[in-house]
Each structure stands twice: as C-alpha cells, then as structure tokens.
C-alpha cells in the first residue's frame, strides 16, 4: 500500500513557555502562551487556525483555548490517549487532517503544572481513592503505585535476561544532562552529571531505578503548528516535513503494566511504530542523524534503541555509550537534554527539538541533519515521527 501521508504535512511553527517547577499561572495560560508563540514563529495569525489536537490527559479545553486566542472557527479537533504516548500522535492526527483537507492549520498543544499541581508519581496518587480503576486493582494494593515502579518490573527482568546493570541505565542520564548543560532553556542548564553522581543517587525503586534514572517533573507548555508541506514552504520558517508518523499498540498491552506477554523485556508498541515508520518512509535506522527518544525512565531508552533497530535486542547496553549518544557520536540523542535534563512536557519538547535540528537552530546542533526521529512515551500505546528537511 502506498503511504499517502509522508511528505504532505510539515511542522511550520514551534512555541514553548519556560520550563519550571512552579509556573505561577494557570495551565490554560501556559497553553495560550505556547500557542501564540508557535503561531508567531510560523508567521501565522490565530484566524488562520482551524484545528486543534491535544492529549486526553490535557486539562485545557479546546473551546477555552479558542476563546483566548480568538480562533473564529474550527473544523477539526481531536485528542490522543495514553499519557506521553500521545506526543507524536498529536502530530500524526494533525498531519492527517491537513493532508485530507479536514483542516488547513492545526495546533498541537500540551500544557500542565505537573510539578506544582497534580504530580503523576506523587504520594497523592495513593491518597483516598473513592474507587480505584479496575486495572489498577491488580497493583495498588501491593504498593506498585507509581510509573517508576511499573517500569521497574520490566527493567529488572531486562537486567536479568541481558546482564544490563543500573550503571548502563545511568549512561542515558549522563548523556541527557550533558546536552542539557549547554541548553539555556533546560532546567539543568550548566549542571552536567557524571556516572558516579548517578550511581550515588538514591534508589527510587531498588535495585533498578535510581533518582537520576527518572525524569524530572516540570510546569510548562509546548505548541506545534502543522500545515501542508506546500503552505509551510511559504511561511516564515524552514519547514520540518513529516516524512512519516505512526501510532502503535501491540498484543496484550496494558497501560504501563504489560506483564503478561511471553517476553516483558521489549516495548512491542514501539516495535509496531518502528516497522511502520521504516516501511512508510523507505528509510532505515542508518538514515537517522539524531533522535529524541522519550526518556521518562532510562531503561526504556535502551529498549527503544533495540525496538527501533539501532541495535539488536539485549545489545543496547553496549551500543549506548556516552560517546555514541552524545553530540559528535554515532547517534546523538535528546540534544535538548531530554525529559531528564530539559523539562518534562510529556514529550512535546522532544518534537520541538526535532524541528530545531531540521532547521539547524538547536543549541546542540548535529551536522548535516537529513532525518530526525522523535518518539513518544513508552510502556503504553505510543507514537513516533520522522522529520526531514525540505
């Protein structure tokens, strides 16, 4: 089947607020600021926008955002489920909308006060719960309560089967913080870490995840402007063309607790996404110059390298050296510092970095970028996209 989506849409504008621990303003305001910045970046006006896509997890109503920005009318609005797994999915939905004419200019947005407001992994999660969702009833009574703990059961089995160690996971944290150190927009700007710092950080979930294996929590907002590749060509910025975009779920998956598959050391949702991206784009892992690999927890970055075909299952611990993954290496990843180093805006700040790499405007610019891969949250049904130059 011919891929009808690749090359037809582009990201024409990006916008973000500062990434902080306490924004001091409403999530709606963060969404407004990011959206206005993204439209200004693209050289478009609110009146040009006729579509919106966000996460099901986002608190900002489309209608509220439209009232604030003054969108006169919209012809397309939808939401993508599964937390951070939605990130690239929002762009895929927007690309489909502009490619089919359902809308002309679609804004994808995500804004939250995840640090100063409701915290996903906070002890508040364990507070009095009027009725625990059924699927969590298999986990919460046993104290398996947080995203870190859910990931840890996978990570421990991965360590057992492949001989990976917590220090192998730590290399991802070192790379992310190295890149964050030279990104003024990163929370951890000018604060790199060593592997020794990582190994000295306290256990969050023993013996697989330390504090520095877990991404930070942030307040902030990000918005992306998606339009047709043709229209993007005439706008203010160099377009980041969407060469391929895919969502993926896989057999017998749960939300972060897919413990019942024959093998629990992989991320088969990302495998589904990867197959589709490579098939639709005609590209392979070797064609990617830099990637943003969703790094809520470091072990899943290693597993993504395997699912995406950068190395074979179990070999990521050898492939993922600090040198290989840093600027100047074989596959520089998370050049903005990632969710660990820059900020945790549910993966949307990885897409903005992908756009900057295509434009040539990253703080940690990779040379001769043709194609950038950006993935979304893992352990859940997920998504990813490949951006390319015009």
């Amino acid at each position: 089947m011919k891929n009808e989506l690749g090359g037809r849409a582009a990201i024409a504008g990006i916008g973000q607020t500062e990434f902080s621990k306490e924004s001091g303003r409403s999530e709606l305001q963060l969404a407004c600021e990011a959206t206005k910045t993204a439209l200004d970046d693209a050289g478009l006006k609110p009146a040009d926008v006729d579509g919106l896509v966000t996460f099901t997890a986002d608190e900002t109503e489309e209608a509220e955002l439209a009232r604030c920005l003054g969108f006169p009318q919209m012809t397309f609005f939808t939401r993508v489920p599964y937390g951070g797994g939605a990130a690239a999915g929002t762009v895929m939905q927007a690309a489909m909308a502009v490619a089919t004419g359902a809308a002309n200019v679609v804004v994808c947005y995500r804004a939250f006060n995840e640090r100063s407001g409701f915290r996903f992994g906070g002890s508040g999660m364990a507070g009095p719960m009027a009725s625990m969702p059924l699927w969590l009833s298999w986990y919460l009574p046993y104290g398996l309560l947080t995203p870190a703990a859910w990931v840890a059961l996978h990570a421990q089995r991965y360590m057992h089967e492949y001989g990976a160690t917590n220090a192998d996971f730590g290399k991802i944290a070192v790379v992310d913080r190295k890149h964050a150190a030279t990104n003024p927009n990163a929370w951890f700007y000018e604060r790199p870490i060593t592997l020794e710092d990582h190994q000295k950080s306290r256990w969050i979930i023993e013996p697989s995840l330390r504090l520095l294996d877990c991404c930070q929590e942030s307040d902030g907002g990000v918005a992306l402007v998606v339009t047709t590749a043709e229209r993007a060509r005439d706008l203010r910025q160099k377009p980041a063309v969407i060469a391929a975009a895919a969502q993926g779920s896989a057999w017998d998956g749960e939300m972060m607790t897919s413990y019942y598959r024959d093998d629990i050391t992989g991320l088969p949702e990302m495998g589904v996404v990867a197959k589709k991206l490579w098939r639709d784009s005609g590209l392979t892992a070797a064609d990617i110059q830099t990637a943003f690999l969703y790094d809520h927890f470091t072990p899943f970055v290693l597993i993504q390298l395997e699912e995406l075909g950068f190395c074979k299952p179990g070999e990521a611990k050898d492939f993922a050296t600090v040198e290989n993954l840093s600027l100047g290496g074989r596959l520089p990843i998370n050049t903005n510092g990632g969710l660990l180093g820059e900020g945790y805006i549910h993966g949307m700040n990885g897409i903005t970095e992908g756009v900057r790499q295509v434009r040539g405007t990253s703080c940690n610019q990779v040379e001769r970028v043709e194609h950038v891969l950006v993935t979304a949250g893992t352990g859940v049904p997920t998504s990813a996209l490949i951006l390319r130059r015009e």
Binding site: G121, G122, S123, A126, M129, S131, M132, P133, L134, W135, L136, S137, W138, Y139, L140, P141, Y142, G143, L144, L145, T146, A148, A149, A152, L153, H154, Q156, R157, H160, R202, W203, I204, I205, E206, P207, S208, L211, W251, D252, T257, Y259, Y260, I264
Partner: protein
C-alpha cells in the same frame, strides 16, 4: 502493615476476589480453547469465546521479576517491601508481594508459594513467600 488500598471489584473480576476471600487463587480458563488468562477479562483474545470457568491455582510459582519501591514513601507501608511478578506453575503471571525474606536474598527464578493475609477494612490479599517445603 495493617492497611492496604482496597481493590475495586467489577463484574469481570468478582470471582477472583471471592476466591481470595475463600483462600483460593483462581485463574480464568477459556471454555472455548482452554487457554488461561489473568488479569480476568470477559472475552478470550484467542478464540473470542465469552464462556469461561475458574480453575484453582496450586499457588506455587517462581519470581519472574521484582521491585522494592522506596520513593515516594507511603504512610501505611512498612519498608522495605517487595513487589513480585510471580509466574504461576499453571503459566499465568500475577503481581503480589513477596514476604518473609530479606530483600537482598530475592532472586529471579526462586520458588514461591501463596498465602493469604487480612488487612483493615475487610481487605484480603493473596501474598507470596519463599516455598517452605523442599521441592
């Protein structure tokens, strides 16, 4: 530990918790194709049959994976505690706690067996401990 978060019970999962209250560990078995499944669901993904019965597990299995959560601290848990993913000898897996063992001694593959513990508010949970008899 005397308090635990109370599991929600729905139409598809009632039998499991009824079993636990009677100190039985039940696993759903498809009446169409005979495959086992856990956690319970109304339809078999292999043959789409809605018919099923519950079989009683021996309660024996081995540790397939484990974790010791430390942070954020919860007021009603005694630390350290071990969450184990147990592979039952019937073939399905279940998440529970592994008790009665020094955390440094936990190994993937170690044999474990079920026991039952009552908590405040009428909560009964199936928990696991290292197998006591010689294999």
């Amino acid at each position: 530990m005397t308090m635990r978060l109370k599991p929600s019970i729905g139409r598809d999962t009632q039998f499991f918790w009824d079993g636990v209250a009677a100190q039985k560990l039940l696993i759903q078995r498809c009446s169409g194709c005979g495959k086992l499944r856990h956690p319970p669901r109304p339809m078999c993904p292999h043959c789409n049959s809605l018919a099923w019965e519950a079989i009683e597990s021996s309660g024996k299995g081995e540790v397939y994976s484990f974790a010791m959560p430390h942070h954020p601290p919860l007021p009603f848990f005694e630390y350290p505690y071990i969450v184990a993913l147990v592979q039952l000898e019937e073939g399905t897996r279940i998440v529970s706690n592994l008790c009665g063992i020094d955390p440094s001694q936990v190994k993937i593959g170690m044999p474990v067996e079920v026991f039952y513990e009552s908590f405040d508010d009428g909560v009964v949970l199936p928990l696991f401990r290292p197998t006591q008899e010689k294999p």
